[in-house]
Structures are given as structure tokens and as C-alpha cells.
Symmetry: C2
Subunit: 284 residues, 2 copies
């Protein structure tokens, strides 16, 4: 039986609708709207695409988004000063530091400098630590999108065998902690894993973010599994994910496509985080 294909754009538009309603109310009652700033160092084409999509989503819901563009040669001090100014500016409710950053800058030092209250990405170690101790507040957008998709499908992970193919700081590690907080049995695979298929073929839920086209074939997937494809790879034939979509869709129970799956939900989750930082900054 063919898998149910998850419509990420539909989920995203429901989230955006709720945010639009909240912002309209805010605007009418308090004459205020959330405002976020993105610090961009240099210009990475992939980052620029994501930024354009996010800015467009901000515009749709009425969040004000501005950029500060710094040259590739910028000093750490200048970036830290920029972050500090945004931290103390009461009109700015959220700060993004756009990755990648130049190799001579230390990402930890820059992320550490952002006020955790304004940390829209959820990458500050304090927000990461809150995930780990089960006191979830600002959660990185991609793991949050995965949870959102599972919840949207009313799929509880408690006691389920979940495999995550990614062990990065941005996706795999926080996602693992989030899944453990929900009592899933979690296995984390990656490029050093010896027997990938042995893990994935037993998974009730398979979440893959390897960035390798057609890494996941029918052999890797258990009949009826929920497969969430976080991979986004630009090929000469367009954008694709990690999953061999045409074959896996005949075996999986539910499957997210690329494009139109996790991507739009990630952007919508980013807007949710902006609302969260806005509420933290404006609550007394």
C-alpha cells in the first residue's frame, strides 16, 4: 500500500495562520509587532535562499525582519559588539546569526554572546541544556519541525523504535534529547555507523538528515514506517532529499517529500520561535 504523503506546506500554513491571528491581535491591542534581526557575514548562496524564504514568511504573518550584513573579513570584536547592541535594544525581540560563518570566527563564542531570551535559533548552550534536562523552551527549528510533523499526524513516539540519521548539534543531538524526553527508544546513526540498514530497517520512525541523495532505499525501511526526510540536496535535476522517494513511498506508512515536507514546517517553526522570544522579551 502506498504511503500517506505528508503535506508540509499545509502544516506550515496552519501554523502561519495562528501566528498571523496572534500578531493581528497584538497590533490592534498594543500597537506593537515582533521584530527580529539577522546578522549575515559574507554571502553563502544556500543561506541566502533560506533567508529569502524566511523573510517572505515573516512578511506574510507581519513580523518585521531586518538584516545586518558584515563582510567576510569582520573581526570577532565587531560581531560581538553587534550582538551586544541587539541584546540591549528593547525594540529587537529576536537575533539570528546566519551560518555558515567565516572559519576564523568561533561559533560557540558568538552563540554564547546572544541573550538566551532572544536566541531564536535555540542554539545558545543554555537553551540546548534546557532541552537536555527536559525543560524545553527554545528548540532549534529543524528538530522542532520533526516533532511538529509527528504531532500533526497524532503519532506518539513513546516506546517506539526511532532512528535518527544525523548526529549534528543542529539536528541529531537536540532531536535525540527531545525524543528521549518523550520516551522513544532512539538510535542515532551517521557517517561512522557500520550497519546503517540494520538500524533503519527496524525503525517505526526513521528521520534522516544525511544530505546524501537516495541514501535510504526500500531495503532500509520497515513496512509501514513513518519516514521523515530532513535532507535537502540541490542536484542538477532540482532539490531532493535522502530518501529514494519513488520506491520508498510504496513501502513506508507515512512519508515527507522533498521539497514540500520538512522544509516549509521548519520555516513555520522559526516563526513560532520568533513569537516565543517576543513573548519572553515583552513579558514582565
Amino acid at each position: 500500500m502506498a504511503a500517506t504523503i505528508i503535506d508540509g506546506r499545509k502544516i506550515a500554513s496552519e501554523i502561519q495562520k495562528n501566528i498571523l491571528d496572534e500578531i493581528t491581535t497584538l497590533h490592534n491591542t498594543h500597537q506593537t509587532i515582533p521584530q527580529i534581526t539577522t546578522i549575515i557575514i559574507g554571502n553563502d548562496p544556500a543561506a541566502t535562499l533560506y533567508l529569502r524564504l524566511r523573510d517572505s514568511a515573516c512578511k506574510t504573518v507581519g513580523i518585521r525582519s531586518q538584516h545586518i550584513e558584515l563582510p567576510m573579513t569582520v573581526s570577532e570584536k565587531t560581531v560581538l559588539d553587534t550582538i551586544h547592541d541587539l541584546n540591549i535594544n528593547p525594540d529587537i525581540h529576536g537575533i539570528f546569526l546566519q551560518f555558515p560563518i567565516p572559519k576564523n570566527l568561533f561559533p560557540e563564542r558568538l552563540m554564547n554572546a546572544i541573550d538566551p531570551k532572544k536566541d531564536v535559533e535555540g542554539f545558545h548552550p543554555l537553551n540546548m541544556g534546557r532541552i537536555l534536562i527536559g525543560d524545553e523552551h527554545l528548540v532549534p527549528c529543524t528538530p522542532l519541525a520533526v516533532l511538529t510533523i509527528l504531532e500533526h499526524e497524532h503519532f506518539g513516539v513513546k516506546g517506539k523504535d526511532v532512528v535518527v540519521v544525523n548526529h549534528s548539534t543542529v539536528v541529531g543531538k537536540p532531536l535525540t534529547a527531545l525524543l528521549l524526553n518523550r520516551n522513544a527508544t532512539v538510535s542515532i546513526c551517521h557517517v561512522y555507523t557500520k550497519h546503517l540498514k540494520q538500524y533503519t530497517s527496524n525503525a517505526d520512525v526513521l528521520i534522516t538528515a544525511a544530505g546524501v541523495p537516495k541514501l535510504i532505499t526500500t531495503d532500509h525501511v520497515k513496512e509501514g514506517a513513518f519516514v521523515i526526510d530532513v535532507g535537502i540536496i540541490q542536484t542538477k535535476d532540482g532539490v531532493c532529499g535522502d530518501v529514494d522517494f519513488q520506491t520508498v513511498k510504496e513501502k513506508a506508512g507515512k512519508l515527507t517529500p522533498v521539497p514540500g515536507g520538512v522544509g516549509p514546517v521548519t520555516i513555520a517553526c522559526s516563526l513560532q520561535n520568533m513569537m516565543k522570544t517576543y513573548r519572553s522579551c515583552t513579558s514582565t
Copy 2:
């Protein structure tokens, strides 16, 4: 072939010897020694035993350890004030909050109040988050003891199949992040796991902290696996771990006993953390 039995007391005494040397030097050159304070609320018998062992270890290496005892009925404000006083006291280099704490107090709020620099347990969300982002600094003692045992045996986990039976904030979650930082393939099992044996019997390294006597039998263990038993259970026949020691020792490659395995190394790692907070507090 019978497993090599890891002598945790020997590993611990090597660590203590190094700390004793460092403290002797400190005392001779700077006339200063590390001083830590433990806040104890009520009196839990298991906690008291651990505390006695730790205090005895402190005495052996020359770390000054004092207790502040508060009644079970203490208010949150009093505990927070106590923590604040210790945070600003330059003579105190490390703060422990002894668990368990009364149910009416919120552990997150109390842990959050401890200066992360003086957080000997590594439970502050900032220190937890640093583990998750791979910027490891103060690591909770039990996961640190597991890593220490692996390192002592020159056992690299990169690419190895590692199973952790525990998903708590104190052990399983930080340990998972630490193992992922070292590029192990990690599976985390717990009370909600459906097929425990299926996971554990494929593990190159099996770390168990379930607190269930004889949970792990030969059927659960792969021939030649490295088995680390973090369980400490008080039974009428004395202390035992999760592992059915007498049978598993004939199948495992390496095995930690209980008592005399992870326990003493955990205490030694606690001393290492005290030295780390001391260095953080005294470095300019």
C-alpha cells in the same frame, strides 16, 4: 573466555593520586586549597552514604568539604539565598546541591541559580548545553566515569555500536551526547523499550544504569562486548548492579563489577570536577 574485570578502585586511586599531587603543589606555592560546599535538604540514607564516601575522598586528596544542612520544610527562597551566598563567596570553589530534594521545590530553578562556574555536578543547563554542542566543560560525574573507564582501557568508541540502558538527565542523556561527540553509533533504551535484548545483544559496548538486579543476562550480551554496569542496588545480600555478573563474565570481553567498578570512579570524577571549578574560580 572469561572477561577482564575492570578494577574501578585502581582507576580511582590513580586519579586521586594526580589530584593529591596537584593540591600539594597548590598548597605549597599559593597557600590555598579547593573548598566545596554541599547543600543537604532533609536526610536521605542513600544520599548520606554517597556523601560520606565523597567526603572521605576529599579528605584523602586535601579538598576542604563542608555541609549546609537545611530542614525538609525549607522554603525555596531560603535555598536560593543560600546558593546566592555561596555563589558570591570567593572562598567557595564548588557547590553541590544534594539530591533528592523535597517535592515542593523545583530542581530546575535551584540548579539554574548555581553559578555555572561553581557547578561541580555539571547539572546546570548551561553546562549540559555545552556537552550537547560539543564544547564539553563540566560533565556530570557518572557519564564522566563511564568515559574515564573506556579511556583507561584505551577503548575508542568511534564507529562502535553502543547501547545505553538509561535515559535520565543525570546519566543517559548527557552520556549519549558525549558518545555522539566521539562518533559512536548510540542506541538509548529504557523502561518503555519494547525489545531490549534486540538492542543490547548487538552492542560492542553496553552501558546499563537501570537499577534492576540481573536485568542483563548472557542473552543480552554480545560475545566479547565491553559491559559497564552503572546500576547500584542495595539488596538483602549486599550491593549489586544490573548485570548478572557470574554468568555475564563468561561471555563479555570486559566487565565492571558492582561494587568496585563505576562507583569509585564516579567519586574520583567528582574530585576532578571540583578541581575544574577551582581552576575556573581562581583563573583570571
